[in-house]
Every structure is written in C-alpha cells, then in structure tokens.
C-alpha cells in the first residue's frame, strides 16, 4: 500500500505535511531534514526539486531554489541522496517540482527512480490535467506513484470533481489564489473549505499556502484533513546551525 494511503487510513485528521527545498540550506541536508521532521512528529514531507523559474512561488521559496541549484542540487543528485533513506524514514514523501526538469530527465526514468528510492507521490503544478490523463497516467500508476493535483478558491465544482477523480493520495487545496508565502489570513476562507468538505471528495484534502504557525495550522485543520507548511519552514532553517534542534522546535511550535 502506498504510504500516503496508509497514513490517511490510520490518521485522518491534523496531518502535518512540511515542504522543504531539496539541497537547501546545504546540498547534503536533504535527508537529515526529512529524518528530523519524522522524529519531530511531522506526518509527511514534500521535497521541492528546485527550478530556475518557479512561477507559483514567492520570494522565500524562489531564493531557496536559487540557493539549492547553486549548491549543486539536481534531480539525479536528489535520487542519489535518497538512495538509502527508506532504511530510516517511514513517513510518506512526495516530490514537488515544475515540469521542465522532469521532462528533461525523462518522465519514465523519473517515475522509475521515484519508485526505486521509495517516493510516494508527486506534485507537478504545471502538468496539465489532460496531458496527465492522456499521456502519463499509466506510467505513474505502473510505478505506484500518486499524482496530487491542486485546487483553488476559484476552481469550479465540476473541475474539482474531475481533479478529485484523477488525483490519488490527497487533493492539495491552495488556501487562496496566490503565490507561496503570502501571509493572507484564513478567515474568509471558511466558505471555500466548507464547500470542499460538503462535496464529499474521494480523496482527503490538505490545505497549503499561507499556513505558517499553530493558529493557521489549526484553522486549516478545522475543515480539512491537515495542512502543508512551506515558506515558514524554509525561512526557519535558512541560517540554522543545528537542524535537529531547530526543526524539533519548529514542529513543536505547530503541534504543541
């Protein structure tokens, strides 16, 4: 069973998924961070594959991507780093990235490598739904990879249903129409979350974008299965000299 499905079958609520850019702050921090997140109580990790032109990201994740690329991070290096990580890490890991580097790596090579190292799912925000459906879906399914699509407050009900039918693992509900790292508050979004909840989707829903502390995490969890924290975490470890302690402190601040 895919680790994402396993997680949701045993714990349906208050799922904490933390995003970090692979190869950041230093090239070989990737696995250390994933392990520390697991130890600290995070339920899932989303690893960003850095891209030169991250269109959906605000300045913090842009900068982390620039730094990771300068550190030498690339998809082949990431797979090398993840080679043995499953001997220590049991929580689900999804890779997030823009399409072009994946296309250049080769979609089938990419899926195979993900399956080999033990990646559970993928978020490729600029992969069009119909291209996935018509070209890549059998490949992703063959390698047991869950593709997770995004919905936003502007997404129509018919399209949400279509996205839910194609997504596996969970649906990523973007909290407001924005790039990452905007500090919009969660009030005013209740109607959107309630609408999603009332739709009775087949997938669990995790809320992301703008989740940054205990308050926003709890607000997001109130009407969904959990939330994803990105920018706030990236910022928290930017200048860390003790990743274990800083990560434990960060997660504690959210969950305690």
């Amino acid at each position: 069973m895919n680790r994402i499905d396993q997680l949701f079958s045993t714990k349906g609520q208050n799922i904490l998924n933390i995003y970090c850019t692979a190869g950041y702050p230093a090239l070989h921090d990737t696995v250390t961070i994933v392990e520390a997140l697991q130890q600290s109580g995070a339920d899932m990790v989303e690893l960003g594959m850095p891209f030169s032109d991250p269109l959906a990201d605000g300045p913090v994740i842009q900068d982390s991507s620039t730094r990771a690329i300068a550190n030498g991070m690339r998809i082949s290096v990431l797979f090398e780093q993840l080679k043995d990580f499953r001997s220590k890490v049991t929580i689900p890991v999804v890779l997030m990235g823009y399409l072009n580097p994946v296309l250049q790596f080769g979609v089938e090579n990419f899926c195979r490598a993900c399956a080999e190292v033990g990646v559970d799912g993928l978020i490729l925000p600029d992969l069009p739904m119909d291209e996935y459906e018509n070209e890549y879906r059998p490949l992703f399914e063959q390698y047991g990879l869950h593709l997770i699509f995004l919905v936003t407050p502007e997404t129509t009900e018919a399209r949400i249903r279509k996205i839910d039918s194609l997504s596996k693992g969970f649906v990523y509900a973007v909290s407001s129409s924005s790039t990452t790292g905007k500090n919009k508050d969660m009030t005013g979004q209740e109607a959107y979350f309630a609408r999603l909840k009332a739709m009775g989707l087949k997938n669990p829903v995790l809320v992301g974008f703008g989740i940054r502390d205990k308050g926003t995490f709890q607000a997001a969890c109130a009407s969904s299965n959990g939330a994803i924290i990105g920018t706030a975490f990236v910022k928290a470890i930017e200048n860390s000299t003790n990743l274990q302690a800083d990560i434990a402190g960060f997660v504690k601040g959210i969950l305690a």
């Binding site: 030169s52 032109d53 269109l55 959906a56 082949s76 072009n100 997404t155």
Partner: protein
C-alpha cells in the same frame, strides 16, 4: 483590415488544442487556470465580433497611424542588389509594432470586464505600448521590467511613468525579460479576478501565442496589399524579421506561411557569438521544454534549468521563442539566422546613413542579414522594421568609437 478569426486556416497556425505542431499548450498551475480558460473560451468570439473589429480598426487607423508605410529603400537596395522594402512599424504611435497587440488586448480586456492591466517588458516598447493604451482607456497599469533593462532603456521607463504606469523592477535571475515575465505571471496568480495580463509577444500559455499573432497579422495583411500596389504581386521573395519572443515576425509571416515560394527568414540575437556563452539564439542553442507555460524551444541546461541569455538588445534578450516559431523551425518552413551584437550595431549605423532611419537595435538584427542572403537584383525583400532606435541612442553612441 480584418483580423484572421478562423482557427487553422494554415497548417502552420494553431490547432484546436492550442498547439502549433508539437509546440504550445498551456502548462499553467491551477491558480492561473480560471484566467487563462476565460481568455481561451472567449478570445476568438470577441475578436470575431464586428463591433470589436470596427473599434480595433478605427484605433489602428486614427490612433496608431496604420497602415504603416511599405517604404522602398533605394540606397539600401542598391547596396545589396535587390528590391528592398521596409515595413515601417517604427512609424507607429509609440515607435514599434508592439502597439498593434496592446490595442487588441486592451479592447479584449474591457470586454472581459477587467479593471487592472499588467505587462512585462524588455526593451520597454511593450511596456510603453501597454501604458499608452491603459491611459487611453483609463485603466490601472503595472509594468514589470528587469532591473538591468530599467537601466539600459531608461527613456522608456520615464515614458511609462509619464503615461501613469507603475514600473516594478524584477530583481530575480538575470533581471531581464524572462524574469519580468515571471513576475508578471506571479502578479496574475495573486490577482485572479480583476486583472488582465497583456503579454507582449507570441509566448505564454495558449491562447496568447495565437491571439498575439492574430493581432500582429495586420503587418503581413498590409504588406500583401502594398506589394501588389507597388510591384504588381502580393508575395515577395523574402520576408525578414527579428525574433525575440517572435511577435513582429509572427505578424510579418502570418499571411505568407502557406506560400512555400516565400522565404521566411527569422533572425535571432547571437549576442557575442552563438557559442560564446553570451547569446540569445534560441533555435541554435535550445531544446524542447516548457518556459512561461508553453512547450517550445528554450535555452536550458542539461537539467532543464532555464539559461540566462545575452543580447545587446533588451527586446531580444529572451531564452525562448514562441511555439509558432518553434514549429516554423522544426518544420523547416522558416530559416533561422542570427546576428551578433556588433553586426546589429553596424546595420543600425548603415540604415541611419543610407536611408535616414535609425532602427531599433532589435530590428537592426534583421537588417544585418541582408549581407548574408544570396540576393538577386529583381528579388523583392521585405524587412520588418519593427521599431525605431530612439530608445537605443545611448547604446549606439557608446559603441560609436
């Protein structure tokens, strides 16, 4: 004048799925979907509306000053031994072809009920053309411009500001056109309801490449009529145009793609030389991939990171080409040449001294290839003179020595 409103009159134009051959599409994150989908659903319908066409034509005529002249450049013709005509987009209001597109898109934005306009700009010509139509229609205007370009095209920054636009520097990456485009797209993600993004070239997600090409197709539509009048024949031997994203070339090629006897010459910026590491010659250096939500040719590393290009001309300093051009390149329908910074500068000086016309540095790249073509005396050559060189005076003068 009528806008080409039917899809796929030519195998080189867009198909119903939004692709030019293997290129195009809309590789957008979900946050952009409602905006792009609204546009996709409505653009052809709006453009086909007679009231829209009438307003568009009227403004092109009375405000832009169209049709732009097709000028027989006799001394240039003598020098290169051919019949050389210049399509004078430099004489348009605001000084370049860019305004053909911004007039079209602002009318479209109004019909979509948008209140706020954003744009990216490289040379500043598209930014000025956008600020101009926003002033004309009384709409708020925000223009993203790379901080490097803000310096090298200072007069255009001042013009945009005088026209009431807010110019926002893009400080990420190479701080040029690619990065300004990223910032404009991010702005659109953050303003999904009231804002229209006026893209300045035939790039971006479908329907932009097709829509912009159609607004610019007025160039080749006029050329055909003007050639018939002047030479007795609608088609030339060559059409030459520079390619940054490719909008002036798309407009100049649009109504000639199906006549194989017309040689379409696209000229890219070679910078300091195609293989110098300082170049923007995308067709020579690029591979298929996704840039700014379009599958097309782009300059990238082996890992798929987009490479920072170089050209002396801010308007050509872009690491991709539009999907229409990627298709023209792959199918062999157009020939892709390139000019170096120095060749373009020399061609700019030459046109100034031979014809009394100071061309934009972008357009000078097209002119520079006259020397490389095996021209014959009775062959008719149309060069798209996409813009005037006022904005580039400082660069020209700096290199005079």
């Amino acid at each position: 004048m009528d806008i080409a409103v039917n899809t796929s009159q030519s195998k080189y134009h867009v198909n119903e799925k939004g692709y030019f051959g293997n290129f195009g599409g809309a590789y957008i994150p979900e946050m952009l979907y409602p905006n792009v989908e609204e546009l996709r659903e409505q653009y052809l319908q709006i453009m086909a509306d007679p009231a829209f066409q009438q307003e568009f034509e009227q403004l092109l005529k009375d405000y832009v000053g169209r049709p732009s002249p097709l000028y027989f450049a006799s001394r240039l013709s003598q020098k290169y031994g051919a019949q050389i005509y210049l399509k004078r987009e430099d004489l348009n209001h605001t000084g370049a072809h860019k305004i053909n597109n911004t007039i079209g898109q602002i009318l479209l934005a109004k019909r979509l009920g948008k209140k706020r306009i954003i744009a990216e700009t490289g040379a500043g010509q598209h930014g000025v053309a956008t600020a101009t139509v926003c002033a004309l229609m009384g709409l708020e205007c925000v223009v993203y411009m790379g901080s490097v370009d803000i310096q090298r095209q200072a007069p255009n920054v001042a013009r945009m500001q005088m026209l009431g636009a807010t110019v926002v520097p893009a400080t990420s990456g190479s701080k040029t056109l690619k990065d300004a485009t990223n910032e404009a797209i991010r702005d659109w993600i953050n303003n999904p309801v009231d804002t229209h993004y006026i893209i300045g070239s035939v790039v971006g997600p479908h329907p932009y490449p097709d829509m912009v090409a159609r607004f610019q197709s007025v160039i080749s539509e006029e050329v055909r009529k003007q050639l018939l009048e002047k030479t007795g024949k609608e088609t030339p031997t060559y059409v030459i145009a520079c390619v940054g994203g490719g909008s002036n070339a798309a407009g100049a090629f649009f109504h000639f793609t199906d006549e194989d006897e017309v040689e379409l010459i696209a000229v890219e910026a070679a910078g300091k030389g195609v293989h110098s590491g300082f170049s923007a010659a995308t067709s020579q250096l690029g591979r298929p991939g996704v840039i700014h939500a379009s599958k097309t040719l782009l300059m990238q590393t082996e890992d798929g990171q987009i490479v920072e290009p170089h050209s002396i001309s801010a308007g050509l300093d872009y690491p991709g080409v539009g999907p229409f051009h990627a298709h023209l390149y792959e199918s062999g329908r157009a020939v892709f040449l390139n000019s170096t910074d120095n060749e373009a500068l020399a061609a700019g000086y030459e046109l100034s001294l031979l014809e009394g016309i100071i061309p934009a540095l972008e357009s000078a790249h097209a002119l520079a290839k006259l020397a490389d073509l095996p021209l014959k005396k009775d062959e008719v050559v149309v060069v798209c003179l996409s813009g005037r060189g006022d904005k580039d005076l400082e660069t020209y003068i700096k290199h005079l020595k």
